[in-house]
Symmetry: C2
């Protein structure tokens, strides 16, 4: 059993869709949630919903965009809580790795999660093997 | 006017949700599309839909996951086309940057897009300022 909860925080439908797409690939992801910021949501109301879904135990929050409202509100929710880790720039690979490979919220595994997610951002078309402008 | 189309390719609702969430932040994104792989889609059928949305002109495809079917099919769609660039590991920040900041599909700006997206994958909670295990 994974010893922490995973919550995706994002603008609009992104959060729920990221979680649903990860479940398409990996099957049901237990102890996970998604909280989307609607276009008319006040940050305070969003924070209340996010705080409720994060809960009182260890939690990894994956936010869609550094500097965006979901990430900023997640930082407020996690303030003074050493058991809430917030990583922004959520990718599908990051969520899959968090759900299936990550075993703790200690600093080293979180650093590994960030590094793996970064290396999953990669150009893949054939032109990189024979570069030339378009 | 941006001289290339942007297409998000992903599992399930991820592609459409990423585009919609970017538009929540940046307003309408012209000349862009999203093609989601359904749980029962054959890769060939997905490829036909993706090829149609990519179209015949220059196109940047942002795929959700390196090694996933949407990314792999995008590589097939872009094969032998130097005007189709495929970047996997899509993030909201990457799409926003592609839609509002990227001005060509030449190698250097694409490298810049990838680097910016990677640096947008970042841990943000306060604990990184006073590391200690949970």
């Amino acid at each position: 059993v994974r010893p922490f909860r995973i919550v995706v925080a994002g603008h609009g439908e992104f959060a729920a869709a990221l979680l649903a797409s990860a479940e398409l690939i990996a099957g049901p992801i237990e102890d996970a949630g998604a909280v989307g910021l609607g276009p008319d949501d006040a940050p305070e109301a969003y924070g209340e919903r996010l705080r409720e879904v994060v809960g009182s135990g260890p939690c990894l929050v994956l936010a869609d965009l550094a500097g965006g409202t979901p990430a900023n509100v997640a930082l407020v929710v996690g303030r003074d809580r050493r058991d809430v880790v917030v990583v922004a720039g959520a990718t599908l690979g990051m969520l899959l790795e968090a759900a299936t490979g990550l075993t703790s919220l200690d600093d080293a595994p979180i650093d590994g999660l960030v590094a793996a997610a970064r290396s999953g951002v990669v150009r893949q078309d054939d032109r990189i093997r024979s570069p030339r402008s378009v």
